[in-house]
Amino acid sequence: MWNWIQRFSSPKHFYGMSAMIIPWFAISALLIGVYGLYLGLFVAPTDYQQGESYRIIFVHVPAAWMSLFIYMVMATSAAIGLIWQIRLADMVAAASAPIGASFAFLALVTGSLWGKPMWGAYWVWDARLTSELILLFLYFGYMALQSAIDDQRSADKASGLLAIVGVVNIPIIHYSVEWWNTLHQGATVAKLDKPSMHIDMLIPLLLMAVAFKLFYGAVVLVRTRNEALYRDRNRRWVRELIEKL
């Protein structure tokens, strides 16, 4: 078992394997994404309260979900790298951070674009937007620490530990922000009466969530491949790859 994991997680083996998987992820992300967007933008009914502008949720909500999901992936693989010293896990964590930060940023931008017609302002200190912003800061901290330390092994370990500390903090941050918001603003801003979601809106939303996950799968594999090539640039398997070109 252990040998198998060791062999399977070697960057060289991963490099070969991932080349076969990436197209599947990419193509299915594209197909499901296009179909989900079509359903969301053209088929789903108009919201009786928010009009057409609600349709941004088909990007906004999956992006927000992804930003949290990717943080979890990042922290889990960082923990695996820290505990079992598997280099591939460290590479996955390092490759995930910028993607997660981009999703958090996307969620913030779409959220504020939605906020302009709904709340009358691009930015409102709404609990969810605020915790998304803090999540973005956590990603920045991780990436800054990762790039500040020259030695790759200890950069991985240090930023991995930071990611794990962040995971312990995320629920605390989330609930304290939510609590802070209810105290400060009451039910004046964000509490548009949310009707339980219509099935025609729910299906495209879930499709988009699946498409985003597949997209992340494709991108993280590509980025991890690059990371593997870069880190192993002086090893034999990369040399051999280059010589074959």
Binding site: A144, L145, I164, N169
Partner: protein
């Protein structure tokens, strides 16, 4: 083990007391930053009072942040941190002693001077006592969480900005509950919930942060 804890605590306190002006710096910074705010706005009592909790808490946060460096920096530079790691005592306990020393030297003075600043910002008397309680519960959490950040960045050149980037997001819950407690107290409402939450965060940080700091120090030392 307890002996080592005690001796390390005493050592850190003694070292700091021999270097008094450095000890006063965070405190002066705290007072200075808070007194900048009335100068920047119209200093009416109502305006000051409404921003006082946030201003005092953010300033305390920054004062602790700036003082975090001395938690491990000197020991790292002169090699005594390596000696600590070589000692047979659990590193976690030693870290805890250092953090307590750090809090006694920076957090506690902030707590003591806080009523003065509450007066500057025309806080009512009830709110001032809550300010003291909230800082008393909150500043140790800042030292504990900060210790993780310093131990990760102590070996990095010009790690100061990096440290704040790492540590400040983790400080947000403490800031929210601390400032909110004072805010609510100024309105004359009960603050039991906020203070209990701060105490819970202190318990959590005191039990987990030394562990994470010890791991982080070993990572730093392995470079």
């Amino acid at each position: 083990m307890l002996n080592a804890f005690y001796h390390l605590l005493i050592r850190d306190l003694r070292l700091a007391l021999r270097n008094r002006h450095e000890l006063a710096n965070p405190l002066i910074f705290f007072v200075l930053v808070v007194s900048l705010f009335p100068l920047a706005v119209t200093p009416t009592a109502e305006a000051l009072q409404s921003m006082a909790p946030g201003v005092i808490w953010v300033s305390a946060l920054l004062a602790v942040l700036l003082s975090l460096d001395r938690l491990f920096k000197q020991d790292y530079d002169d090699g005594s941190l390596d000696q600590l790691m070589l000692s047979p005592n659990p590193l976690m306990i030693l870290v805890f002693a250092k953090v307590i020393a750090h809090w006694l030297l920076t957090g506690l003075p902030l707590v003591i001077v806080a009523p003065l600043l509450g007066m500057f910002m025309s806080l009512p008397a009830d709110a001032v006592s809550v300010l003291v309680y909230s800082l008393l519960l909150g500043t140790p959490v800042l030292s504990l969480i900060g210790a993780i950040g310093v131990s990760l960045t102590v070996a990095v050149n010009r790690g100061g900005v990096l440290l704040s980037l790492i540590v400040l997001p983790l400080y947000i819950p403490v800031l929210i509950f601390g400032a909110n407690a004072v805010d609510v107290a100024a309105d004359g409402l009960s603050v039991k919930g906020q203070l209990t939450f701060l105490a819970a965060m202190l318990a959590l940080a005191a039990s987990l942060a030394p562990l994470a700091t010890a791991v982080a120090l070993r990572i730093t030392a392995s470079r």
